[in-house]
């Protein structure tokens, strides 16, 4: 049955071997993606969201990176076992990527049209002339006015939001099966963010691509995603459909992320509750549950045993010793009083 799945990430583990030690950047990440679906990957900076995506695309330089275990199956074929030539035929063709910063992701010395034409020439073997004509159509598709004249412009003549549209046009040039968007709106201002996300949704409907949306914005995820993966310190901590995750979040880290979001309809006296402390260094991941030093509900077992990822209900699971226990919900759970000494430490 695995062959029917568009993308299966199975227990993917990738460490960086650096001079300072082993950085456990991706530690046992699993998920599945079907055509037309959108997966949101959420977590703080340094939680391994982007690195997971780059590992799937084989864009991590090895060394220092090394895949320690697990596999990535694209239509039943292992991306990790492919030769460099084979993976190159996938990149930009079947799986395309949109990067975070549109200001630096376009080559300043080439005209926009040429850059959009590049994936077409590379993968479709189109002539320059055909590819250029197609670039005009693609620019039109991503909503850039006067595409016939704008293709001749250089990147510096475009605003940030327009450049991200260009990046999306490049990524979608070959109608990829999967579009990996790595914080596509983080570098843009809020009004443009909404436009870009709308554009991605619209094009997804048109082309039928699956999207992996990497973000730290829960609002964006609630809007766009079908399923959500929450990552912490390189590990998956919770996975489920958007409804499951937002209505019945299982993991205290997910609760923390939600509590730290401002809500517009609360009265002005209620405070934001940030998650205390810093994300851990991935060289020195805390023992047991990597979240336990920051978890207000941590018990002794949390610092000794690594919690297994368990499915609690209908595909919705979490890596927490207490996930699914009666009374252990975002609304009802009561924090464990922390001994003073430990509080100083954090």
């Amino acid at each position: 049955m695995a062959d029917d799945k568009l993308l299966v990430v199975d227990n993917l583990t990738m460490y960086f071997h650096t001079r300072d030690g082993v950085v456990k950047a991706v530690d046992g990440v699993s998920y599945e993606l079907n055509s037309g679906e959108t997966l949101g990957v959420v977590g703080e900076s340094g939680s391994g969201k982007s690195v997971t995506a780059l590992t799937i695309m084989r864009l991590i330089p090895m060394p220092p990176g090394r895949v320690e275990g697990g596999d990535v199956l694209f239509r039943g074929e292992s991306l990790l076992k492919m030769s460099d030539n084979e993976i190159r035929k996938i990149r930009g063709n079947r799986i395309a990527m949109v990067f975070q910063d549109p200001m630096t992701s376009l080559n300043p010395v080439y005209r926009i049209g040429r850059q959009i034409a590049e994936p077409l020439i590379l993968h479709k073997g189109m002539s320059k002339r055909d590819a250029w004509a197609r670039a005009v159509e693609l620019l039109d598709l991503v909503g850039i006015p006067h595409p016939e004249s704008r293709v001749k412009d250089y990147p510096h003549q475009f605003s940030g939001g327009m450049r991200q549209r260009v990046m999306i046009a490049m990524a979608l040039a070959n109608d990829p099966d999967i579009l990996i968007a790595d914080e596509p709106t983080t570098a843009l201002d809020v009004t443009i963010q909404a436009q870009i996300l709308e554009l991605m949704e619209e094009l997804q409907k048109r082309i039928g691509s699956a999207i992996i949306l990497i973000t730290h914005d829960l609002g964006v995820v609630a809007d766009m995603a079908d399923n959500v993966l929450v990552m912490y310190a390189g590990r998956p901590v919770e996975y489920g459909s958007v409804d499951q995750l937002f209505y019945r979040p299982l993991h205290p880290y997910t609760w923390g992320l939600m509590d730290s979001l401002p809500e517009y309809d609360v009265d002005e006296k209620s405070k934001l509750c940030p998650i205390k402390g810093q994300p851990p260094s991935l060289i020195n991941v805390p023992s047991g549950c990597s979240f336990h030093p920051r978890c207000p509900f941590a018990q002794p077992v949390c610092s000794t045993d690594v919690p297994e990822y368990r499915i609690i209900e209908g595909g919705h699971g979490a890596a927490c010793h207490f996930a699914g226990d009666p009374g252990f919900t975002r609304a009802e759970a009561s924090p464990v009083p922390v001994p003073a000494a430990e509080e100083v430490a954090w």
Partner: protein, 328 residues
Amino acid sequence: MPIDDKTLVESAREDDSAPIGHHLETGGTPLDQVAAESGEGSRTLWSDALRRLLRNKLAVIAMAYLVLVTLLAITAPLWTKQLFGDPMYADTTKIMQTRFLPPSLAHPMGTDDLGLDTFARVVYGARISLMVGLLATAISVIIGIVLGAVSGFYGGITDSVVMRLTDVFLAFPYILLAILLISLMGMGLGPVLVAIGILGWTTIARVFRSSILSVKQNDYVEAARAMGASDLRIMVRHILPNALAPIIVYATMSIGGVILTEAALSFLGLGVQPPTPSWGGMLNEAQSYVVTQPALFIWPGIAIIMTVLAFVLLGDGLRDALDVKVSE
């Protein structure tokens, strides 16, 4: 894959061989123009750079001056003898009548101690200076680009070895090393050219290496990799064009520096040997008449200053013209 409207996304995909022209009929983009524009992208980059360069007055003046000097230098053997007399062989019988003449129509810059026309000698000096400047810089650039590219692309031990070699070369005083090399090879034009050429690559290698290192970090290189481009394509198409601009600028400016070095070596008597005129050699010959006949060192001096300045100004203009971001 459900497609509800006729986005050209699908039509192009299903039939690659279909003439793309019919898609464009509505758009109204003239196909000829499309074809012209989709030609070699780098050529259009250079034409844009040229356009920007031509807007820079100082650079245009410098270029006009250099073109004029180059034309004069190349054509010198055709007209100097007829108009101003032989610039290399003096008629010793009439020397007392022809030496140290003030500027006149027959001798625009006057004559020197042997009665030779100074203007003709300055023009002949330009032949030497420009040739050494261009050829020695070309040697330096070729060595520097190869070593810099190897260093920047591969990094690691290769990088360390090349860069330490550069350090060793930089640690020696440039002129002294040049003199040493020339004395090993014998004096004259060839040895000067080679000595300057093989000593000048160090800075170019460093500039090119750092340029490549910084370009390599750019997101668009990663984006190109994510697009499925091969290593070679990434190097040639994405890294090199972005790393080349500093080299073009630096090489142009260093032609001026090379001309100065050649003049210094000729002044010391190590360069082109008399009677062939060179600017440094003319300065050397003028030493004895500094007080009585200042014109003899002023004219080659002005030629050196103007030419060096022209190359520096041109390099400056190129830097602005090649930086896509500063432009519009």
